[in-house]
């Protein structure tokens, strides 16, 4: 395809590609590589730091990478491409007056606050607000505006109105000044993508229904560009878990979760397609505003030419071996795996359980697991082998593959193991049942007896194991191959590229945004 004909897709990520490894990054790299020569990509990567290093050999169809470090305190724009130079942004600073903040920004901010008060039902207005804010920040300075005293006073007023006045001052739910300070600063950081100008694109996609979706929403309003949300996990579900588990105050958690709920609902509302990697995510998506008819499951795919069955290492030939590839942290529930090993080793005395995965993710949990191994006297049977750079070798060490996670999406390691022809015993969480179907044994999480029974069955019954081995690989080739996955996306891209969209900005109903647009048309 000629360069001139090739469509350009904006791919927005957060905390992943191309700066960190993991499932989302694997997915993104595969998609970009496989579509090289057909689709060009521009990566919008929301990251932690301006110093993140690109971890991948980027294919030539990635035309630009914009790093948007969310947690720096200075102007984020300085970390974008060198064009335009910083002096361009200085003009915005000089242009931003109190008058502009009061007359143009504050009414839109007021509408934003109204959305935050009721994050579940305000998706329509929220999209308009995001567009209005983006438009404002193309001409006026972000930091000056958000750190202005009138913005702060307005936010304070919101928190005052937001608070249930029946709560006494000694209640844990009363907002404190620190909650307000954090709340406004978080807003500053999370909304940073709103400053970025939108490059020339034909299509947009976000790897989660969170803040990376902002450029997609803006592109839709400004240029009528269709966009899709790829739900690898479910952003809002993960935020509910992670934020609830923090030591933040009640108020601070509420502010954070309301922001997350608002952006999720808005992302789903305006998306043209919502593409979770498993059907498990669907319920959460619908609960938080996704229309069922927009949802289409596109599972992950693996390279079935690379992940192929291979012989076991000689030293393990006569030893029943169970392999797992998993970093050591609580969600993977290695403790249950250890208990399974204890039960299985009671019947197969020389069985080997080998877990490949980093021991440094959660050192306390790793120590807990090591202590449990020792307490159960199974040091000869259970090995925490550490990180292995070549997982293909690890899968082929085992007779079966084991996964005991208590929470999962659609793990690449499971697909890779199946592609290597390994029968699987896995807990029935997340999207695992959709991958496994009848080609493995599903178990209840946190039930070592149930899991051990399944492991023993497969280790002892050679015929069943061999049949599942063949079927596992066949299933992956049929439904979860890289080619299958890429073709699926190509179909969606083509469908959306042909879609005629009306530029959404004509549907703006908020007076504050319309006023800003009129002002900008007249003045600039």
């Amino acid at each position: 395809m000629d360069v001139a004909e090739r469509p350009t897709v904006l791919l927005a990520t957060e905390g992943s590609y191309p700066y960190k490894g993991g499932g989302v990054s694997t997915w993104a790299q595969m998609l970009c590589e496989e579509l090289n020569g057909q689709i060009d990509f521009i990566i919008f990567a929301l990251s932690n730091s301006s110093q993140d290093k690109i971890r991948y050999n980027l294919p030539s169809n990635i035309k630009a990478v914009y790093n948007i470090p969310l947690w720096v305190t200075e102007d984020t724009v300085v970390y974008y491409n060198a064009e335009p130079p910083f002096s361009y942004y200085l003009k915005r600073k000089l242009r931003t007056t109190r008058n502009d903040i009061d007359n143009l920004f504050r009414p839109i901010f007021k509408d934003f606050i109204e959305c935050l008060k009721d994050p579940v039902t305000k998706s329509v207005e929220s999209g308009q607000v995001i567009y209005g804010l983006w438009k404002y920040f193309q001409y006026y300075d972000y930091k000056m505006t958000l750190s202005h005293i009138s913005t702060w006073d307005h936010f304070k007023q919101f928190l005052f109105e937001y608070t249930d006045k029946t709560i006494t001052s000694s209640s844990t739910e009363t907002p404190h000044l620190l909650d307000m300070t954090y709340g406004m600063r978080w807003l500053y950081h999370f909304m940073m993508p709103i400053v970025a100008s939108i490059p020339q694109i034909n299509l947009s996609m976000s790897t989660l229904a969170g803040f990376p979706v902002i450029p997609s929403i803006v592109a839709k309003f400004e240029y009528g560009i269709p966009y899709m949300v790829i739900d690898h996990g479910v952003f809002i579900r993960e935020r509910l878990i992670n934020i609830s588990n923090t030591n933040f105050s009640y108020s601070a958690k509420k502010i954070l979760l309301d922001m997350a709920t608002l952006i999720t609902g808005t992302a789903y509302h305006y998306a043209d397609r919502i593409l979770p990697v498993s059907g498990f995510n669907k319920n959460w998506e619908i609960t938080f505003g996704a229309e069922a008819n927009k949802i289409e499951v596109i599972p992950n795919g693996v390279d079935t030419q690379y992940f192929v069955p291979g012989p076991k290492p000689k030293e393990l030939n006569n030893t029943k071996t169970v392999v797992a590839v998993s970093h050591i942290f609580p969600l993977k529930d290695i403790e249950t795996m250890i208990k399974v090993c204890e039960i299985v080793s009671g019947k197969i005395h020389d069985v080997q359980f080998i877990v490949y995965g980093s021991l440094d993710i959660d050192p306390d949990y790793t120590r807990k697991c090591q202590a449990l191994i020792k307490r159960l006297h199974i040091e000869e049977n259970f090995k925490l082998a550490g990180y292995h750079a070549n997982p293909r070798e690890t899968y082929n060490e085992g007779d079966i593959y084991l996964m005991t996670s208590i929470s999962e999406g659609v793990p690449y390691t499971l697909l890779e193991a199946m592609s290597c022809g390994k029968p699987v015993v896995a807990t029935d969480v997340g999207g695992i049942s959709e991958i496994l179907k009848d080609n493995g044994i599903l178990c209840k999480p946190r039930d070592p007896n149930n899991i051990a029974e399944a492991v023993l069955l497969l280790l002892v019954d050679d015929a069943m194991r061999n049949e599942m081995s063949v079927n596992s690989r066949a299933n992956v080739i049929k439904e979860f191959s890289k080619e299958h996955f890429v073709q699926h996306y190509k179909n969606i891209f083509q469908e959306l590229l042909q879609k005629k969209t009306q530029k959404d900005k004509i549907k703006i109903t908020l007076p504050s945004v319309n006023y800003l647009l009129r002002h900008i048309n007249e003045q600039h």
Binding site: S171, T172, D428
Partner: protein, 540 residues
């Protein structure tokens, strides 16, 4: 399953209570039912398990019940009781130990300077001073010293900020990279500035060439020393600076006493050695820290315009600060009857008075260290304690704290001034025995300048306290503006008074400028502290 079948499945209250306790342990007071639902899922309880295991139709129903339980009084325990008396606690000097600790830390930075004073007393000379300098020598060395402080003043500020920025991120590699760049630009600026003075002098003949050469060499060597010391000071390596200075001074002594070198050569040798040792310490520190804190990062500095933009106000502050400190001297040394031999000519009694007053100012550095520590600690503490309806009390508290801190500062200043006065004055009876002491008290100008300078420094230290607040709250712009106005006042009043009355009345410029500085910054601080809630939030 129909409703009858569902109704026959018993809800197990004890299991639900256990689950509620478990969820409470994970998330505390839940923000919403969905937070509970997500947490239940995260511990491996699936939609398909809730009916069999708990007797609920759906995960959401189970979560709703758990949410209801957790909102019960049993789980909604109070944390800290907030009451208004928190804001009434004493702020005058609430913690003697804390004061002594931070005062001591503040004084630590003066150790290298004190070593120079000690060296003067013991040997009659130090790295760049000598008791027996004649006026010509004193003038040229003073010009070198003053110009080196003013030229490097801005760079010192930028070094401090940028090193702290990157070390705060744990990135010693970038801190090292940027430090090198700033030192390079700073070093080139020193050399170019001193060269400009040299070549201007060739055009306008301010001083004989050999005198200017002296000044330029001292200016360069001292300038490098200031730059390098500022790096180590920011890295909290005061010991390294002290060792470098002591070794350098030791070389001066060795050069004079053992090698019989002339004073200039000995001092240049000492200064050069000090500079090299500081470089060695700096490189060793960064090498050690980059090895023990490896970071696999992109190692990219922002665009140079960005570095300029985020530092230019601090850079200006640095230049203005030293210009202000030395302005009165330049004015006093540029006039007199009979007229001075050259454009600026050293005025010994004036300088002695200023140095005497400086002893009092040095002693208050520790108080500033304590004040800003207390301010930072209190603001974080009360941010957590103050509820949304206690914001006016929060702001009022900091106004009270500020007033008390100013009182403490003034009190400590007065004590320091009196201590400095009596410490030096107590040497007067030994004048007959020691000609130097006799010479010190020979002119009444010395003590007149001492008193006026001390008064000026009291106000100046108040302005410095305000400056520290402004820097902590990321508001350097107003400080720069205030210091500029103060500098103009210093110059104007000092110039007029020194010409109208007598050269030593240049000190009234310092007093006036310091009062202006304290008042202008004080006005801004008062305005800020009334809205501390906002100013703290926006300090990022």
């Amino acid at each position: 399953m129909n409703n009858i079948e569902f109704a026959t499945i018993k809800k197990d209250d004890s299991k639900i209570d256990t689950l509620a306790q478990h969820i409470h342990g994970l998330i505390g007071n839940p923000v919403s039912v969905w937070a509970v639902a997500a947490s239940i899922e995260s511990i491996g309880i699936r939609e398909k398990d809730v009916l069999q295991d708990f007797g609920y139709k759906s995960l959401y129903d189970l979560a709703s019940e758990i949410y209801r339980i957790l909102k019960n009084e049993k789980y909604r325990t109070s944390v800290i009781e907030n009451n208004d008396s928190d804001f009434n606690e004493s702020v005058l000097l609430d913690n003697i130990i804390s004061f002594l600790k931070y005062y001591g830390l503040g004084l630590l930075v003066t150790i290298p300077l004190l070593s120079q004073i000690a060296s003067l007393f013991i040997f009659d000379y130090s790295l760049w001073a000598w008791i027996h300098l004649n006026k010509a020598q004193a003038t040229m060395i003073a010009i070198g010293v003053i110009s080196s402080f003013i030229i490097t003043g801005g760079f010192v500020q930028v070094i401090g900020r940028e090193i702290n920025r990157y070390i705060g991120m744990g990135d010693y590699g970038l801190a090292k990279k940027l430090t090198r760049q700033i030192l390079l630009i700073g070093g080139i600026t020193i050399i170019c500035s001193q060269s400009c003075f040299y070549f201007l002098n060739m055009l306008f003949y301010f001083y004989p060439i050999n005198m200017v050469t002296l000044s330029v060499i001292y200016g360069c060597l001292i300038g490098f020393m200031i730059l390098l010391s500022s790096v180590l000071y920011t890295l909290e390596q005061i010991k390294s600076i002290t060792i470098a200075v002591i070794i350098g001074t030791g070389l001066v002594v060795t050069g004079i006493k053992l090698m019989h070198l002339n004073m200039y050569i000995a001092q240049w040798m000492g200064l050069g050695a000090t500079d090299l040792i500081l470089v060695f310490y700096m490189r060793s520190y960064f090498s050690k820290m980059t090895h023990s804190n490896p970071k696999d990062t992109a190692d990219i500095l922002p665009q140079i315009e960005v570095i300029y933009y985020r530092n230019y106000r601090y850079f200006l502050y640095g230049i203005l600060y030293f210009s202000f400190i030395f302005m009165d001297r330049i004015i006093a040394w540029s006039t007199g009857k009979p007229p001075t031999s050259f454009i600026i000519w050293f005025n010994t009694p004036y300088e002695l008075g200023m140095d005497w007053a400086l002893l009092g100012l040095i002693a208050t550095v520790g108080v500033l260290e304590y004040d800003i520590h207390l301010f930072s600690e209190r603001i974080q503490y009360f941010q957590k304690r103050a509820t949304y309806d206690q914001i006016p009390k929060f702001n009022a508290y900091f106004m009270k704290l500020y007033k008390h801190q100013v009182l403490i500062l003034i009190g400590m200043n007065i004590i320091s001034v009196m201590a400095a006065y009596y410490a030096i004055h107590s040497l007067k009876p030994y004048g007959n025995e020691y000609p130097l002491i006799k010479d010190f008290f020979a002119s009444p100008i010395t003590s007149n300048v001492f008193w006026l300078a001390s008064l000026g420094y009291i106000f100046f230290s108040i302005g410095l306290l305000h400056t520290l607040y402004c820097f902590t709250l990321a508001r350097p712009g107003y400080v720069v503006f205030s210091l500029l106005i103060s500098l103009i006042s210093n110059f104007s009043i000092g110039f007029i008074m020194s010409r109208l009355i007598s050269p030593e009345y240049a000190i009234t410029g310092l007093v006036t400028g310091s009062v202006v500085f304290a008042l202008l910054t004080g006005w801004y601080i008062t305005k800020s502290f009334h809205r501390m809630d906002y100013f703290y939030f926006s300090a990022y």
